[in-house]
Amino acid sequence: MARSGRPVLFIRAVQDLEKTKKALEKFFPGTIIELILFRMPQSLCGGKRTHSRIGGKIVTLKELEIGKPAVIRAVGGEGALRQHFLDMGILPGTETTVVKYAPMGDPLEIRLHGYELTLRLDDAARIEVEPTCAKKVPEQSEANRAKAAHPGFGEGGKFHPKGSGDPLPDGTMLTFALVGNQNSGKTTLFNQLTGAHQHVGNFPGVTVDRKDGAILGHDDTSITDLPGIYSMSPYSSEELVSRDFVLREKPKAIINIVDATNIERNLYLTMQLLEMDIPVVVALNMMDEMTGNGGAVDVNRMESMLGVPVVPISAAKRQGIDELIDHAIHIAHFREKPMRQDFCDGNTQGAVHRCLHAVIHLIEDHAAEAGLPVRFAASKAIEGDTLILEQLQLDENELEMLEHITIQMEKERGLDRSAAMADMRFAYIMKVCGDCVVKPQINREHLRSQKIDHLLTGKYTAIPIFIAVMGLVFFLTFNVIGGTLQEWLALGIDKLKEVTDAALNAANVNPAIHGLIVDGLFEGVGSVLSFLPVIVTMFFFLSLLEDSGYIARVAFVMDKLLRKLGLSGRSIVPMLIGFGCTVPAVMASRTLPSTRDRKMTILLTPFMSCTAKLPIYAFFVDAFFSRYKALVMVGIYLLGIVTGILIAFLYKKTLFRGEAVPFVMELPNYRLPSARNVAQLLWEKAKDFLQRAFSVILIATLVVWFLQSFDFRFNIVTQSGDSILAMLAGVLVPLFKPLGLGDWRIVTSLLCGFMAKESVVSTLEVLFGAQGGVAAAMQPAAAAVLLAFSLLYTPCVAAVASVRREMGHRWALYVVVWQCVIAWIVALLVRLCCMAAGMA
């Protein structure tokens, strides 16, 4: 009741006064309703969440016009996704702009903290923003600042007198964790530090597993390259790998790689790493790009503000690496922990500061018992991290007390717990950046990326360009480059075979050994080897797409389409890799944040025909459909994709009901693929193929030759139908009869294909060699059916093993059986079509 005697009702966050008035009149009939708009004091409405700000209308991010600047006022949603939003810097008070929409209208790309992020419209609708006028960025200059003294962290003789400190005993293995945001250059730095040749790419999430190595020249060190993470709140499974490594394996020091061109968001993880109470050295990567664009970092000042050594580097150009190694070894050896962990003072009214320290006192004993760094555990407990709360094992009273302290902080701070904690970290980051960083006025790489994106992600150009790019890749792989080189190599191998044959005849070698070498080794391994150029060419183009940053754009463009199948745009990355090899494709699915999406993507990758199947296609297409080579090749790939789409629909309605997880992904700048990196990848793939040819395929060829040359009494057979192999494979022949493939030799080749897909060709060559080759013994219809079956049946043993590692035994068995069933059905349909067309 107000002083005037009239009843007063406060309603929070009214956006449409007229609508509210009508609703109230309906609710209180006969009452005169008068609405007065109040701007509530900050203490009541939560600081930045002033919804009825004068001159600004609160809208959702979804409704914000392209290019119009706005300030985020509230971040909706819940759980891990909301935490991920906050960790990515989507915080109340942050300025943002909508850059563009994907060609199909969803998702959208926003710019904040100097980087680009993609979000779906449904998620953007949960973020409230207030359009503002563009703020003029104050011109920063390095010259305006007083020079900061070098604090000398991580250096002998400065931080502590030489020869003193708290060193580890001599001979202790110094373990390092290489931690940083996705696509910040961790693997490039790892390769520089260890001399390894791990694959790097230009899209978020290339590294999905930890990799270890020793720092060059320091055998008593072990450095672990971890998957990229945005914060210590795990959002996807590979992020959990990184967090668990730091928490459980307790490395002697952390090398935190920070992308200097995107420093604000990268320092968010640094803030959390400093709480881990482990020595940290910050490697400011891409400093060459930063300074090249006119930017600068006051490293000395940043070092004193963060309390850890900061080393500017360029991992790609090997600049600053030696200094980084010196600092890293020093802090690990002398156990120099961060000098500063308390970043919460100076926060609004100190509410977060008081809350954090109260919780630190509350859980101190539990954190020590659980082996968790106390400040980290306290901040995670406040955020409500269930994994950490489980480890802390707080009793009921303590949990209640924690909740009361947190609620009081929320009330005083005016933000919910997660937002308040994220805001606290970002507030300090802004202070650090304000004091130490001169941002470049123009980022040439970004401007170039924007221009390229106009075309590659343009509304009317994106999808035609994607189809054209993929078409060109296949055309160049199978026809122009790969195909031509393959023909030359095949000619060379044939020549060598003729020479060997003649030499063996001249030397009067035993017929059995002669047969093994000429009909076994040359027919089997030789025929597979000739496909090396096609495979290398395919990987060459896939690596160009990966390294340039285009794959991330494909995910952005295709998200809406994939959502209809129940998948997220990020699933396109493993699937495109699947065209190269199913094994890395299955592993790449770890970047997907939900188990449902991950499982579904893994089960669909075998439908993307891998390069190991190329020899089968090329072999049959050359033999039976040489006039329509390109058409049949494209048809095979399309058959795989279409079947995959149909199965995805089936999965969506049965095994994996529900919606795909939100699409939150960073779009990296386009970069020119490094010749060294591409050459390295091609060498690795060629080496891998040759090793397979001379290991699995060689053994399979020899076994097949032996089994088809001898009977059960180990006598050489004159008719291969009397051989051991014919007897064994004969058991499965009835299953293949309805497909028109009721020949034991075809069944045998398919069985060998389980070991390595290329073995299908080598086995067929060995078994049909005596009858004048496969072309003479089979009809085109049977070849078409066999092609369809080979395309879809069980992936090779290496791929099944990677499925087992990611999903377990049952799913691996399911993949084997289910793929065979699908292959059988599709092959039968192909046969029926051939019969209808009069081919069979």
Binding site: R210, T224, I517, V696
Partner: protein, 44 residues
Amino acid sequence: MHFIDIVLIAALVLLVVLAVRQIRKKRGSCCGDCASCRKDCTRR
């Protein structure tokens, strides 16, 4: 059996032994369990 046959058989046996060793040495990244690991990782 001629001398050349014996040489060829020995060469084939050597080839098979090397192939089997190659198969056993599974390639991949470090799983951390170095004591029982047979992977060809950067640590070796």
